[in-house]
Protein backbone atom coordinates (compact mmCIF):
# COMPACT_ATOMS: atom_id res chain seq x y z
CA UNK A 1 0.00 0.00 0.00
CA UNK A 2 2.80 2.43 0.96
CA UNK A 3 4.86 1.66 -2.16
CA UNK A 4 1.72 2.07 -4.25
CA UNK A 5 0.94 5.42 -2.62
CA UNK A 6 4.52 6.61 -3.27
CA UNK A 7 4.15 5.50 -6.90
CA UNK A 8 0.99 7.61 -7.22
CA UNK A 9 2.59 10.64 -5.50
CA UNK A 10 5.54 10.46 -7.93
CA UNK A 11 3.09 10.59 -10.84
CA UNK A 12 1.34 13.56 -9.26
CA UNK A 13 4.72 15.30 -8.97
CA UNK A 14 5.44 14.57 -12.64
CA UNK A 15 2.07 16.09 -13.60
CA UNK A 16 3.01 19.36 -11.85
CA UNK A 17 6.58 19.27 -13.17
CA UNK A 18 5.21 18.76 -16.69
CA UNK A 19 3.54 22.17 -16.54
CA UNK A 20 6.99 23.77 -16.57
CA UNK A 21 8.45 21.58 -19.33
CA UNK A 22 7.90 21.77 -23.06
CA UNK A 23 8.45 18.04 -23.62
CA UNK A 24 5.70 16.80 -21.25
CA UNK A 25 7.08 13.25 -21.15
CA UNK A 26 5.29 11.51 -18.31
CA UNK A 27 2.69 13.96 -17.05
CA UNK A 28 -0.48 12.25 -18.32
CA UNK A 29 -1.01 14.53 -21.29
CA UNK A 30 -2.58 12.00 -23.68
CA UNK A 31 -3.37 13.40 -27.12
CA UNK A 32 -3.01 16.91 -25.84
CA UNK A 33 -1.99 18.50 -29.14
CA UNK A 34 -2.26 17.71 -32.84
CA UNK A 35 0.91 18.56 -34.71
CA UNK A 36 1.27 17.90 -38.44
CA UNK A 37 4.92 17.55 -39.38
CA UNK A 38 7.48 16.30 -41.86
CA UNK A 39 11.20 15.65 -41.41
CA UNK A 40 14.08 16.21 -43.82
CA UNK A 41 17.37 14.59 -42.88
CA UNK A 42 20.60 15.00 -44.83
CA UNK A 43 23.71 12.99 -43.95
CA UNK A 44 27.00 13.51 -45.81
CA UNK A 45 25.12 15.45 -48.50
CA UNK A 46 22.60 12.66 -49.08
CA UNK A 47 18.90 12.91 -48.20
CA UNK A 48 17.52 10.01 -46.15
CA UNK A 49 14.25 8.37 -47.13
CA UNK A 50 11.40 7.60 -44.70
CA UNK A 51 12.69 4.14 -43.80
CA UNK A 52 16.20 5.43 -43.12
CA UNK A 53 14.82 8.22 -40.92
CA UNK A 54 12.76 5.72 -38.95
CA UNK A 55 15.80 3.51 -38.41
CA UNK A 56 18.13 6.37 -37.50
CA UNK A 57 15.89 7.75 -34.77
CA UNK A 58 13.74 4.69 -33.92
CA UNK A 59 10.49 6.57 -34.45
CA UNK A 60 7.17 5.72 -36.08
CA UNK A 61 7.49 8.38 -38.72
CA UNK A 62 5.59 8.40 -42.01
CA UNK A 63 3.31 5.46 -41.21
CA UNK A 64 1.27 6.36 -44.29
CA UNK A 65 1.97 8.49 -47.35
CA UNK A 66 0.18 11.51 -45.99
CA UNK A 67 1.44 13.98 -43.43
CA UNK A 68 2.64 12.58 -40.11
CA UNK A 69 0.92 13.52 -36.88
CA UNK A 70 2.46 13.94 -33.45
CA UNK A 71 -0.09 13.75 -30.66
CA UNK A 72 2.37 14.54 -27.89
CA UNK A 73 4.43 17.68 -27.57
CA UNK A 74 6.56 18.16 -30.70
CA UNK A 75 9.41 19.15 -28.37
CA UNK A 76 9.69 15.49 -27.48
CA UNK A 77 10.71 14.80 -31.08
CA UNK A 78 13.19 17.69 -31.12
CA UNK A 79 14.82 16.39 -27.95
CA UNK A 80 14.94 12.85 -29.31
CA UNK A 81 16.76 13.93 -32.48
CA UNK A 82 19.27 16.05 -30.55
CA UNK A 83 20.04 13.19 -28.17
CA UNK A 84 20.36 10.64 -30.98
CA UNK A 85 22.74 12.88 -32.95
CA UNK A 86 24.92 13.65 -29.94
CA UNK A 87 24.90 10.10 -28.58
CA UNK A 88 25.29 7.95 -31.68
CA UNK A 89 26.07 9.90 -34.83
CA UNK A 90 28.89 12.31 -34.04
CA UNK A 91 30.98 10.73 -36.84
CA UNK A 92 28.23 11.21 -39.43
CA UNK A 93 26.17 14.15 -38.19
CA UNK A 94 22.93 15.03 -39.90
CA UNK A 95 21.30 18.26 -40.89
CA UNK A 96 17.68 18.03 -39.83
CA UNK A 97 14.76 20.26 -40.72
CA UNK A 98 11.33 19.65 -39.21
CA UNK A 99 8.44 21.51 -40.78
CA UNK A 100 5.49 21.51 -38.41
CA UNK A 101 2.13 23.07 -37.76
CA UNK A 102 0.32 23.01 -34.42
CA UNK A 103 -3.50 22.80 -34.77
CA UNK A 104 -4.02 25.09 -37.71
CA UNK A 105 -1.46 27.70 -36.69
CA UNK A 106 1.15 29.00 -39.14
CA UNK A 107 3.92 26.65 -40.28
CA UNK A 108 7.11 26.64 -38.27
CA UNK A 109 10.56 25.14 -38.76
CA UNK A 110 13.00 23.51 -36.40
CA UNK A 111 16.65 23.01 -37.36
CA UNK A 112 19.44 20.77 -36.16
CA UNK A 113 22.16 21.88 -35.72
CA UNK A 114 20.51 25.02 -34.47
CA UNK A 115 20.90 28.02 -36.76
CA UNK A 116 23.27 30.64 -35.41
CA UNK A 117 21.74 34.12 -35.09
Amino acid sequence: MIIGAVFIVIQLGLVFQGQFEKTKHFCWAPHNTMVAYSIDVTVDGQKLDIVQIRERYAIYYGADDKVSWEVHSIHNLFELIEIAEKRFYQDHPAEVVIQYRIEGEEERYWYYPKLSD
Binding site: Q11, P30, T33, Y57, I59, H72, L80, G104
Partner: protein
Protein backbone atom coordinates in the same frame (compact mmCIF):
# COMPACT_ATOMS: atom_id res chain seq x y z
CA UNK B 1 -4.08 -30.92 -15.65
CA UNK B 2 -7.49 -30.03 -14.27
CA UNK B 3 -5.80 -27.38 -12.13
CA UNK B 4 -4.31 -25.69 -15.21
CA UNK B 5 -7.68 -25.77 -16.95
CA UNK B 6 -9.69 -24.26 -14.16
CA UNK B 7 -7.16 -21.89 -12.58
CA UNK B 8 -7.58 -19.03 -15.08
CA UNK B 9 -11.24 -18.84 -14.06
CA UNK B 10 -10.57 -18.75 -10.34
CA UNK B 11 -10.61 -15.37 -8.74
CA UNK B 12 -10.19 -16.33 -5.10
CA UNK B 13 -7.38 -17.74 -2.91
CA UNK B 14 -5.05 -14.83 -3.64
CA UNK B 15 -4.33 -11.61 -1.79
CA UNK B 16 -5.93 -9.57 -4.56
CA UNK B 17 -9.55 -8.41 -4.58
CA UNK B 18 -11.24 -10.59 -7.23
CA UNK B 19 -12.27 -7.59 -9.34
CA UNK B 20 -8.64 -6.46 -9.64
CA UNK B 21 -7.47 -9.95 -10.56
CA UNK B 22 -10.11 -10.14 -13.29
CA UNK B 23 -9.02 -6.70 -14.53
CA UNK B 24 -5.36 -7.76 -14.76
CA UNK B 25 -6.22 -10.98 -16.55
CA UNK B 26 -8.52 -9.26 -19.04
CA UNK B 27 -5.84 -6.74 -19.99
CA UNK B 28 -3.17 -9.46 -20.16
CA UNK B 29 -5.33 -11.42 -22.60
CA UNK B 30 -5.89 -8.31 -24.67
CA UNK B 31 -2.10 -7.80 -24.88
CA UNK B 32 -1.59 -11.40 -25.99
CA UNK B 33 -4.36 -11.45 -28.61
CA UNK B 34 -3.53 -7.99 -29.95
CA UNK B 35 0.16 -8.99 -30.07
CA UNK B 36 1.06 -5.92 -28.03
CA UNK B 37 4.68 -6.72 -27.25
CA UNK B 38 7.09 -4.59 -25.24
CA UNK B 39 8.68 -1.93 -27.46
CA UNK B 40 12.06 -2.55 -29.12
CA UNK B 41 15.03 -0.63 -27.83
CA UNK B 42 15.39 2.86 -29.29
CA UNK B 43 16.78 6.15 -28.01
CA UNK B 44 16.43 5.51 -24.29
CA UNK B 45 15.28 7.82 -21.51
CA UNK B 46 17.74 6.11 -19.15
CA UNK B 47 21.23 5.46 -20.52
CA UNK B 48 21.69 2.54 -18.13
CA UNK B 49 19.19 0.58 -20.24
CA UNK B 50 21.70 0.59 -23.10
CA UNK B 51 23.78 -2.02 -21.29
CA UNK B 52 21.26 -4.56 -22.61
CA UNK B 53 22.15 -5.29 -26.26
CA UNK B 54 19.35 -4.25 -28.64
CA UNK B 55 19.18 -7.81 -30.06
CA UNK B 56 18.45 -9.38 -26.68
CA UNK B 57 16.17 -6.55 -25.54
CA UNK B 58 13.06 -7.55 -27.45
CA UNK B 59 13.36 -11.31 -26.88
CA UNK B 60 14.22 -10.84 -23.21
CA UNK B 61 11.40 -8.43 -22.50
CA UNK B 62 8.88 -10.62 -24.34
CA UNK B 63 9.94 -13.67 -22.32
CA UNK B 64 9.61 -11.70 -19.06
CA UNK B 65 6.14 -10.51 -20.09
CA UNK B 66 5.04 -14.05 -20.93
CA UNK B 67 6.42 -15.29 -17.61
CA UNK B 68 4.27 -12.63 -15.92
CA UNK B 69 1.20 -13.78 -17.86
CA UNK B 70 1.87 -17.38 -16.80
CA UNK B 71 2.13 -16.37 -13.14
CA UNK B 72 -1.05 -14.31 -13.45
CA UNK B 73 -3.17 -17.10 -14.92
CA UNK B 74 -1.78 -20.37 -13.64
CA UNK B 75 -0.26 -19.77 -10.21
CA UNK B 76 -1.28 -18.13 -6.93
CA UNK B 77 1.52 -15.52 -7.45
CA UNK B 78 -0.78 -13.18 -9.31
CA UNK B 79 0.63 -9.96 -7.85
CA UNK B 80 4.16 -10.95 -8.87
CA UNK B 81 2.89 -11.73 -12.37
CA UNK B 82 1.13 -8.41 -12.60
CA UNK B 83 4.24 -6.54 -11.43
CA UNK B 84 6.40 -8.40 -13.96
CA UNK B 85 4.12 -7.48 -16.88
CA UNK B 86 3.73 -3.85 -15.77
CA UNK B 87 7.42 -3.49 -14.94
CA UNK B 88 8.68 -4.78 -18.26
CA UNK B 89 6.16 -2.70 -20.22
CA UNK B 90 7.27 0.41 -18.31
CA UNK B 91 10.95 -0.40 -18.92
CA UNK B 92 10.27 -0.86 -22.62
CA UNK B 93 8.70 2.63 -22.75
CA UNK B 94 11.70 4.08 -20.89
CA UNK B 95 13.91 2.29 -23.42
CA UNK B 96 12.36 3.95 -26.47
CA UNK B 97 11.69 7.70 -26.60
CA UNK B 98 10.14 7.38 -30.04
CA UNK B 99 7.59 4.90 -28.69
CA UNK B 100 6.17 7.22 -26.01
CA UNK B 101 2.49 6.39 -25.75
CA UNK B 102 0.22 7.27 -22.87
CA UNK B 103 -2.03 4.35 -23.88
CA UNK B 104 0.77 1.84 -23.28
CA UNK B 105 2.03 3.78 -20.28
CA UNK B 106 -1.38 3.54 -18.60
CA UNK B 107 -1.53 -0.18 -19.37
CA UNK B 108 1.89 -0.67 -17.75
CA UNK B 109 0.98 1.44 -14.72
CA UNK B 110 -2.34 -0.42 -14.31
CA UNK B 111 -0.50 -3.74 -13.97
CA UNK B 112 1.94 -2.20 -11.47
CA UNK B 113 -0.87 -0.71 -9.39
CA UNK B 114 -2.72 -4.05 -9.33
CA UNK B 115 0.53 -5.79 -8.39
CA UNK B 116 0.97 -3.39 -5.47
CA UNK B 117 -2.64 -3.79 -4.29
CA UNK B 118 -3.77 -6.26 -1.65
CA UNK B 119 -6.84 -7.29 0.26
CA UNK B 120 -5.97 -4.53 2.76
CA UNK B 121 -5.67 -1.73 0.21
CA UNK B 122 -8.61 -3.07 -1.81
CA UNK B 123 -9.34 -0.88 -4.80
CA UNK B 124 -7.93 2.30 -3.24
CA UNK B 125 -4.79 2.36 -5.37
CA UNK B 126 -6.80 1.79 -8.56
CA UNK B 127 -9.09 4.69 -7.65
CA UNK B 128 -6.12 6.96 -6.91
CA UNK B 129 -4.46 5.91 -10.16
CA UNK B 130 -7.55 6.79 -12.17
CA UNK B 131 -7.77 10.06 -10.24
CA UNK B 132 -4.17 11.02 -11.13
CA UNK B 133 -4.71 10.04 -14.76
CA UNK B 134 -7.81 12.23 -15.13
CA UNK B 135 -6.26 15.04 -13.07
CA UNK B 136 -3.20 15.13 -15.36
CA UNK B 137 -5.33 14.89 -18.49
CA UNK B 138 -7.65 17.70 -17.36
CA UNK B 139 -4.87 20.02 -16.14
CA UNK B 140 -2.81 19.57 -19.32
CA UNK B 141 -5.82 20.24 -21.53
CA UNK B 142 -6.73 23.32 -19.49
CA UNK B 143 -3.22 24.67 -20.03
CA UNK B 144 -3.40 24.16 -23.81
CA UNK B 145 -5.03 26.88 -25.90
CA UNK B 146 -6.27 24.49 -28.62
CA UNK B 147 -8.73 23.00 -26.15
CA UNK B 148 -10.27 26.39 -25.37
CA UNK B 149 -10.65 27.69 -28.91
CA UNK B 150 -11.71 24.52 -30.73
CA UNK B 151 -8.49 24.25 -32.77
CA UNK B 152 -7.70 20.79 -31.36
CA UNK B 153 -10.94 19.14 -32.50
CA UNK B 154 -10.82 20.83 -35.90
CA UNK B 155 -7.33 19.45 -36.46
CA UNK B 156 -8.28 15.99 -35.13
CA UNK B 157 -11.63 15.41 -36.78
CA UNK B 158 -11.38 17.46 -39.97
CA UNK B 159 -7.71 17.71 -40.91
CA UNK B 160 -6.54 14.33 -39.67
CA UNK B 161 -9.55 12.01 -39.86
CA UNK B 162 -11.65 13.86 -42.42
CA UNK B 163 -14.68 12.62 -40.46
CA UNK B 164 -17.76 13.13 -42.68
CA UNK B 165 -20.26 13.25 -39.80
CA UNK B 166 -18.20 15.78 -37.88
CA UNK B 167 -17.79 17.95 -40.97
CA UNK B 168 -21.59 17.89 -41.52
CA UNK B 169 -22.25 18.74 -37.89
CA UNK B 170 -19.73 21.58 -37.94
CA UNK B 171 -21.67 23.09 -40.86
CA UNK B 172 -24.82 23.01 -38.71
CA UNK B 173 -22.93 24.69 -35.85
CA UNK B 174 -20.62 27.07 -37.72
CA UNK B 175 -17.95 29.40 -36.40
CA UNK B 176 -16.04 26.67 -34.56
CA UNK B 177 -18.85 26.26 -32.02
CA UNK B 178 -18.91 22.47 -32.35
CA UNK B 179 -15.15 22.14 -31.81
CA UNK B 180 -15.31 24.52 -28.88
CA UNK B 181 -18.20 22.55 -27.35
CA UNK B 182 -16.38 19.24 -27.83
CA UNK B 183 -13.22 20.58 -26.19
CA UNK B 184 -15.15 21.90 -23.20
CA UNK B 185 -17.18 18.68 -22.95
CA UNK B 186 -14.07 16.49 -22.82
CA UNK B 187 -12.40 18.71 -20.20
CA UNK B 188 -15.59 18.84 -18.10
CA UNK B 189 -16.10 15.06 -18.31
CA UNK B 190 -12.53 14.30 -17.29
CA UNK B 191 -12.80 16.86 -14.49
CA UNK B 192 -16.00 15.27 -13.17
CA UNK B 193 -14.43 11.82 -13.41
CA UNK B 194 -11.66 12.89 -11.00
CA UNK B 195 -14.27 13.36 -8.27
CA UNK B 196 -16.32 10.30 -9.23
CA UNK B 197 -13.39 7.87 -9.14
CA UNK B 198 -11.83 9.25 -5.96
CA UNK B 199 -15.03 9.11 -3.88
CA UNK B 200 -15.96 5.44 -3.33
CA UNK B 201 -19.66 6.24 -2.92
CA UNK B 202 -19.66 7.91 -6.36
CA UNK B 203 -17.76 5.10 -8.08
CA UNK B 204 -20.96 3.68 -9.49
CA UNK B 205 -21.45 6.87 -11.50
CA UNK B 206 -17.76 6.87 -12.46
CA UNK B 207 -18.26 3.43 -14.01
CA UNK B 208 -21.21 4.63 -16.09
CA UNK B 209 -19.65 7.94 -17.17
CA UNK B 210 -16.17 6.47 -17.72
CA UNK B 211 -17.28 3.57 -19.89
CA UNK B 212 -19.55 5.80 -21.97
CA UNK B 213 -16.84 8.46 -22.33
CA UNK B 214 -14.05 6.15 -23.47
CA UNK B 215 -16.34 4.12 -25.70
CA UNK B 216 -17.63 7.30 -27.34
CA UNK B 217 -14.05 8.43 -28.03
CA UNK B 218 -13.17 5.01 -29.44
CA UNK B 219 -16.11 5.08 -31.86
CA UNK B 220 -15.69 8.73 -32.80
CA UNK B 221 -12.01 8.43 -33.59
CA UNK B 222 -12.42 4.85 -34.88
CA UNK B 223 -9.40 3.94 -32.81
CA UNK B 224 -8.95 1.92 -29.63
CA UNK B 225 -5.55 3.63 -29.12
CA UNK B 226 -3.72 0.33 -28.81
CA UNK B 227 -4.75 -1.46 -25.63
CA UNK B 228 -6.05 1.76 -24.00
CA UNK B 229 -9.80 1.33 -24.49
CA UNK B 230 -9.61 -2.23 -23.18
CA UNK B 231 -7.44 -1.16 -20.24
CA UNK B 232 -9.94 1.54 -19.32
CA UNK B 233 -12.95 -0.81 -19.62
CA UNK B 234 -11.14 -3.37 -17.50
CA UNK B 235 -10.24 -0.66 -14.95
CA UNK B 236 -13.93 0.16 -14.56
CA UNK B 237 -14.78 -3.54 -14.30
CA UNK B 238 -12.25 -3.44 -11.44
CA UNK B 239 -14.30 -0.75 -9.71
CA UNK B 240 -17.52 -2.79 -9.76
CA UNK B 241 -18.58 -4.94 -6.86
CA UNK B 242 -18.59 -8.35 -8.35
CA UNK B 243 -21.29 -10.69 -7.05
CA UNK B 244 -19.99 -13.12 -4.47
CA UNK B 245 -23.19 -15.06 -4.21
CA UNK B 246 -25.36 -16.26 -7.01
CA UNK B 247 -28.46 -18.16 -6.14
CA UNK B 248 -29.77 -20.31 -8.94
CA UNK B 249 -33.31 -21.51 -8.61
CA UNK B 250 -33.90 -24.11 -11.25
CA UNK B 251 -36.47 -26.78 -12.00
CA UNK B 252 -35.38 -30.13 -10.65
CA UNK B 253 -34.86 -31.63 -14.10
CA UNK B 254 -32.16 -29.00 -14.82
CA UNK B 255 -29.98 -30.07 -11.95
CA UNK B 256 -28.00 -32.86 -13.48
CA UNK B 257 -24.41 -33.78 -12.81
CA UNK B 258 -23.53 -32.57 -16.29
CA UNK B 259 -25.08 -29.18 -15.64
CA UNK B 260 -23.18 -28.76 -12.38
CA UNK B 261 -19.90 -29.72 -14.04
CA UNK B 262 -20.31 -27.31 -16.93
CA UNK B 263 -21.26 -24.47 -14.60
CA UNK B 264 -18.23 -25.28 -12.48
CA UNK B 265 -15.81 -25.26 -15.44
CA UNK B 266 -17.11 -21.91 -16.65
CA UNK B 267 -16.03 -20.35 -13.43
CA UNK B 268 -19.06 -20.13 -11.19
CA UNK B 269 -18.20 -22.35 -8.32
CA UNK B 270 -14.64 -21.22 -7.79
CA UNK B 271 -15.51 -17.73 -6.77
CA UNK B 272 -19.28 -17.43 -6.58
CA UNK B 273 -21.09 -19.27 -3.87
CA UNK B 274 -23.78 -20.96 -5.90
CA UNK B 275 -26.83 -22.44 -4.33
CA UNK B 276 -29.02 -24.46 -6.59
CA UNK B 277 -32.50 -24.93 -5.31
CA UNK B 278 -35.14 -26.84 -7.21
CA UNK B 279 -38.32 -24.90 -7.88
CA UNK B 280 -41.23 -25.76 -10.07
CA UNK B 281 -41.93 -22.50 -11.80
CA UNK B 282 -39.54 -20.29 -13.66
CA UNK B 283 -35.86 -19.62 -13.18
CA UNK B 284 -34.53 -16.98 -10.89
CA UNK B 285 -31.09 -15.69 -10.20
CA UNK B 286 -29.99 -13.29 -7.54
CA UNK B 287 -26.64 -11.69 -6.88
CA UNK B 288 -25.74 -10.16 -3.57
CA UNK B 289 -28.40 -7.52 -3.85
CA UNK B 290 -29.95 -7.82 -7.27
CA UNK B 291 -32.63 -10.37 -7.99
CA UNK B 292 -34.32 -10.98 -11.29
CA UNK B 293 -36.15 -13.64 -13.19
CA UNK B 294 -34.23 -14.12 -16.43
CA UNK B 295 -33.41 -16.56 -19.13
CA UNK B 296 -30.78 -19.05 -17.94
CA UNK B 297 -28.43 -18.06 -20.77
CA UNK B 298 -27.87 -14.81 -18.89
CA UNK B 299 -26.10 -16.77 -16.18
CA UNK B 300 -23.28 -17.28 -18.62
CA UNK B 301 -22.60 -13.56 -18.59
CA UNK B 302 -21.51 -13.72 -14.99
CA UNK B 303 -18.84 -16.32 -15.21
CA UNK B 304 -15.25 -15.14 -15.42
CA UNK B 305 -14.86 -17.05 -18.66
CA UNK B 306 -17.63 -15.06 -20.31
CA UNK B 307 -15.74 -11.84 -19.66
CA UNK B 308 -12.73 -13.30 -21.45
CA UNK B 309 -14.82 -14.34 -24.42
CA UNK B 310 -16.69 -11.08 -24.79
CA UNK B 311 -13.57 -8.97 -24.39
CA UNK B 312 -11.56 -11.06 -26.83
CA UNK B 313 -14.09 -12.00 -29.46
CA UNK B 314 -13.57 -8.83 -31.50
CA UNK B 315 -9.83 -9.50 -31.50
CA UNK B 316 -9.77 -13.21 -32.21
CA UNK B 317 -11.98 -13.12 -35.24
CA UNK B 318 -10.01 -10.16 -36.61
CA UNK B 319 -13.11 -8.32 -37.72
CA UNK B 320 -12.94 -5.38 -35.45
CA UNK B 321 -14.73 -3.09 -37.87
CA UNK B 322 -18.22 -1.97 -38.84
CA UNK B 323 -21.43 -3.38 -37.47
CA UNK B 324 -19.76 -6.43 -35.96
CA UNK B 325 -17.47 -4.33 -33.83
CA UNK B 326 -20.38 -2.17 -32.75
CA UNK B 327 -22.52 -5.22 -31.97
CA UNK B 328 -19.84 -6.88 -29.88
CA UNK B 329 -19.09 -3.68 -28.01
CA UNK B 330 -22.79 -3.33 -27.23
CA UNK B 331 -22.92 -6.93 -25.93
CA UNK B 332 -19.92 -6.22 -23.71
CA UNK B 333 -21.47 -3.07 -22.32
CA UNK B 334 -24.92 -4.67 -21.86
CA UNK B 335 -23.35 -7.54 -19.97
CA UNK B 336 -22.14 -5.05 -17.38
CA UNK B 337 -25.59 -3.65 -16.67
CA UNK B 338 -26.77 -6.22 -14.07
CA UNK B 339 -23.43 -5.95 -12.25
CA UNK B 340 -23.81 -2.18 -12.44
CA UNK B 341 -27.27 -2.46 -10.83
CA UNK B 342 -25.95 -4.84 -8.22
CA UNK B 343 -23.22 -2.35 -7.30
CA UNK B 344 -25.83 0.42 -7.30
CA UNK B 345 -28.16 -1.49 -5.00
CA UNK B 346 -25.26 -2.35 -2.71
CA UNK B 347 -24.56 1.38 -2.48
CA UNK B 348 -28.20 2.19 -1.80
CA UNK B 349 -28.27 -0.43 0.94
CA UNK B 350 -25.05 0.98 2.38
CA UNK B 351 -26.51 4.49 2.38
CA UNK B 352 -29.73 3.18 3.93
CA UNK B 353 -27.81 1.50 6.73
CA UNK B 354 -25.62 4.54 7.24
CA UNK B 355 -28.61 6.84 7.63
CA UNK B 356 -30.28 4.57 10.18
CA UNK B 357 -27.39 5.05 12.63
Amino acid sequence: MRFIFTHPFRLHNTDLPPELLLTARLVALVLIFRKNRPFPQGITYLRILEIVPADSWLTGSLLIMLAGVFLLFFTPFVRGGSLLIGGILLLSILGCRGCLSNAHLYTAVLFIIIGLSSSTSGKTLLRWQLGVLYFGATLNKMMTSGWWNGAYFDALMIERHNNALYIQLSEIFPGGNLSLFMGLLVMATEGVLIVLVLWPRWNIYAIAVGILFHTAITFTANNTYGPFWYAMLASYIGLTTFPTHINLKLPANFITHQFKTSVSVLGFSHYYRVTISPVFEGIEFCFNHFSQRQHPVLYLLFTTSSFYYVMLLPLTINLFHGWLRNGLAVILLLSLIPIFFDTYQARQRFLGNASSF
